[in-house]
Symmetry: C3
Subunit: 400 residues, 3 copies
């Protein structure tokens, strides 16, 4: 007998090609997820987080971040209710003194009952962690699942040696799947037409795209062993023969009613401000090439927190060879891209996701869509996730 899911089985049956995606309301299990920036977890700090509905405690000890379940095995209380760390390598439950080792999770002592026979024999769940590019990743999965390489769960190039990354995170009141779909939706650019990033980077921004025969060819599904499973797309190649045509004039019944910004620039200038492609992959991450500016790469994650919230982690990477280049980019990120792009452009995406949430919070509404040709990317994504997600996060895994 299969375990209960968050979504009604009758609905799931209706979408056999993307059943697992519809069921993955709280995300896919057995994947790596970023949850905090490294800078947010100081040495010795104990930081409670929620990831795919699981309450987890993080602590940095001698530089390394450890993660354990935030739930005492004895009576199920949260250790974070009142953190007691009497030694650097352990955490003690405030209720009866059950003490666990951060590295192995082993119950090493029970202060109120030091001769309890289960000492040394039982453990609290631990979670594998990795740090890369200033992000702390946690593997949310089954204890017996063979640990995949982090590189299989981040967009390609993110881990490149010369890729230098800065970023920030924003809690958003929508399911994580809505965020993914907004991110890869080629027509959602319509909502960005008044973004302040547009004049600030003197770029053009279309209202939409006219789909051409080349539209489908621009989308490539990647399901190679040992690589992140995703979709690469080059729809945004402005002005090239084999891509879609950007639209700068919006018409109703033949009359132009809205115009977006089209800069009169030399081909050389236009190339500066052009976004060239995107790469979306499991477990819910996106790379946008040459965005928000030539030579920059936006890497972003839509991390499932609860059924109706996700953590939107936005990073912008730049290839840097020297400390001086990295220092200059730090200044550029914090003074320009964070206010202008993360908060002057992606805030439109947050508003869109939160507006989609009331509809998509009802599971049946996923079956009541009217898709058009350009929504094909979304269907491709749902089916890719269905085939490649490593496991479903189910009610039985979740504390909330």
């Amino acid at each position: 007998m299969t375990k209960p899911t968050f979504v009604d089985e009758e609905l799931l049956k209706k979408v056999p090609r993307w059943r697992n995606y519809l069921a993955a309301k709280l995300g896919f299990r057995n994947h790596w997820y970023p949850i905090r920036f490294s800078r947010e977890i100081a040495e010795n700090a104990v930081v409670p987080v929620t990831l795919l509905g699981e309450h987890i405690l993080l602590k940095r000890i001698d530089g390394k971040v450890y993660a354990i379940k935030d739930k005492c095995i004895h009576r199920g209380v949260r250790l974070s209710e009142k953190v007691e760390c009497y030694t650097r390598g352990t955490i003690t439950c405030w209720y009866h003194g059950f003490t666990y080792k951060w590295d192995t999770g082993v119950l090493c002592d029970v202060i109120a009952s030091p001769e309890t026979p289960i000492i040394g024999k039982r453990k609290i769940k631990t979670y594998p962690t990795r740090e890369a590019k200033g992000l702390v990743f946690v593997f949310v999965g089954d204890d017996d699942y063979p640990l995949p390489d982090l590189s299989t769960d981040v967009p390609p190039t993110f881990l490149d040696d010369d890729m230098y990354v800065q970023g920030a995170s924003y809690p958003v009141k929508s399911n994580w799947r809505i965020a993914c779909e907004n991110g890869i939706d080629p027509l959602h650019i319509y909502i960005h037409r008044e973004s302040k990033l547009v004049p600030n980077t003197q770029r053009s921004i279309p209202l939409g795209h006219t789909a051409s025969a080349a539209y489908e060819a621009a989308e490539v599904v990647v399901e190679e062993e040992g690589k992140p499973k995703g979709i690469t797309h080059s729809i945004f190649r402005e002005g090239e023969q084999n891509a879609t045509m950007p639209l700068y004039e919006g018409k109703i019944e033949g009359r132009v009613v809205v115009q977006s910004t089209k800069m009169h620039s030399t081909p050389e200038e236009a190339r500066e401000k052009r976004t060239t492609g995107s790469y979306v992959c499991l477990p819910g991450a996106l790379r946008v090439d040459n965005f928000p500016y030539r030579g920059l790469f936006q890497f972003e994650w839509y991390v499932p927190i609860s059924e109706d919230t996700h953590l939107y982690i936005i990073t912008i990477g730049k290839r840097c060879a020297t400390d001086q280049e990295r220092g200059e980019y730090d200044h550029e990120f914090w003074h320009r891209w964070k206010p202008e792009s993360l908060e002057g452009f992606n805030n439109d995406d947050i508003k869109a996701r939160e507006a989609l949430q009331p509809a998509y919070s009802k599971d049946r509404r996923w079956l009541e869509e009217t898709f058009i040709r350009e929504d094909k990317s979304i269907v491709t994504w749902r089916e890719l996730c269905h085939r490649n997600g490593r496991g479903l996060q189910l009610p039985c895994h979740v504390d909330i």
Copy 2:
């Protein structure tokens, strides 16, 4: 197989004579409902409302009010999230530019994808509207339901040429059925005994009524084809032979403990201040004759909004022949009847309904009543609605 209802089927089976009424938690479908006063919808204003759980957008264009579903057919977002009306006759979804015509609902353009094949072929749901006596009515029903005449859903005389009407509306935290039942309950007058309307109109107000043999004769069920389906009642004919006797003294164990106001007046004066009858009809409207004063008619509606709220629309009509009479009545309504009657008398009804709501919000409590003889009107009403409601508003119709 029948569609799921808001109320458990096991409970519904227990009341075969008023099953549909118990099931109509969100109202009866295929009826006309008033939702706003005409004065509340200015030319070109876009006004979101909720009616029987359906989110609807209203717009007045060249004087006529149009109504469409507040949900884009594409991804289900609410158009009202950010209203974009680039032309007077259309509304455009903020997300991808799906553009609909207010009059037909036809999808006439998609700004971000102007060559989408479904343009001109798909439509958003539209709702028929009517305006009468300063109220905007919306027909909430099935697209293929033959449109009934507005006159079949309002109390008789409301639409008479010389009936001049003013009114106001109040959101109330109770189900609409509770409001109806309080309105027709002959004994609920007990709650009005300290109303400021009583001294202000120098009228008598009883504490209740002694039911007589004539009680049932005073109630007439009207189920004629082409007319509003309702119940007319003349219980309030004070002092006449064939009606109930009003009570002005309340006794406990034989001792008078509470008295209400009984004016010593000539028969002539008493007639001035007498309420002579009432008419309740589907889909939840009431007329009270010669109330709050001789020559006035209170018409009120209990419009279902959600399972636990209704909009209480109160109007008071007067037969006026000339503009001068209408102008004088305007002054009278706004300066006297709105503060003294709507807010100095009917506020007691609002309190009663909100106090009934916790009990009746549990569906099983509808089966745990102890009715007395005077509650017969309520049972008659439930059975009338069961037989004559044109359709049930069901979970499948509702967005909330």
Copy 3:
């Protein structure tokens, strides 16, 4: 067919030895519960309370407290919405004037319809009441259940003639069963180690106990006919041969990391400050002997209010022979024990219960515990309640 319970039947089946306890989310029916202090119900005051999910109205008339269901039999509204007591011995519903006698519950009049045939024939539910030691007890049970003696529902000695009691009550956001279990848990003393009661009474307080062979012998289950059903425990006999050894040093991996207060005192002094035993009994009451000080007895109740709240009633009794002794103890209680013990010690218990609630609010979490030897008391308690609870409070009994 059995009636529906608050807890899923599949879960209940898994704990056959304490099924009824798991099912008793809203308490056990057919028991006496304290709900207010006598001082809180003045002559003629009408006081609404909730007990095991039932809304109840209390009134003191000529010194005696009466209790009736706070729900008019007619339409189910709460009488407390607007209390109308026209005579001392009756209460009248604000809606139609249904009037009930406080002593028998009989419907003696209907003000708005004085000739209604059901007058004198129908009644509102009444609840037996008792007052003892300054507490008002209400019997929540079936009308035909033979009324048990109050002495079978309070810890032994509470009703002794010379036992003089003072106390206070605190609303707590946890289920009542969590409160019981925290109260009898021998190791929960760990949470009290920094209580201000400890220095103020110059007592020792251990961090926990080393269970010895004598541990189980110290626990005696009492299931005698005509007595309260409970468990007596003498674990707290410090320094005696046949009890557990108190621990004052907490170790992690062999190193002392936390110490609690151990006073260097003569055996004589130590005896002054020693707690000697406890007695927990149905329907959720605890006596702690010689606590907070020699010669005092703490009697406390965990009264079920709703699924996730209980009223924590704490009293401290002292044997007093004269009015002078009682007067001196009044001063002692209000100026010392209330601030130092009720609010300087038991507040830790409240915090612990509220921290347990999120886990135990999910019924399945009761089956996901990892018990150790000292938790045996809790299992003994669950099984005792299963066998001796006089009835389950079920959804059908409850208004909320």
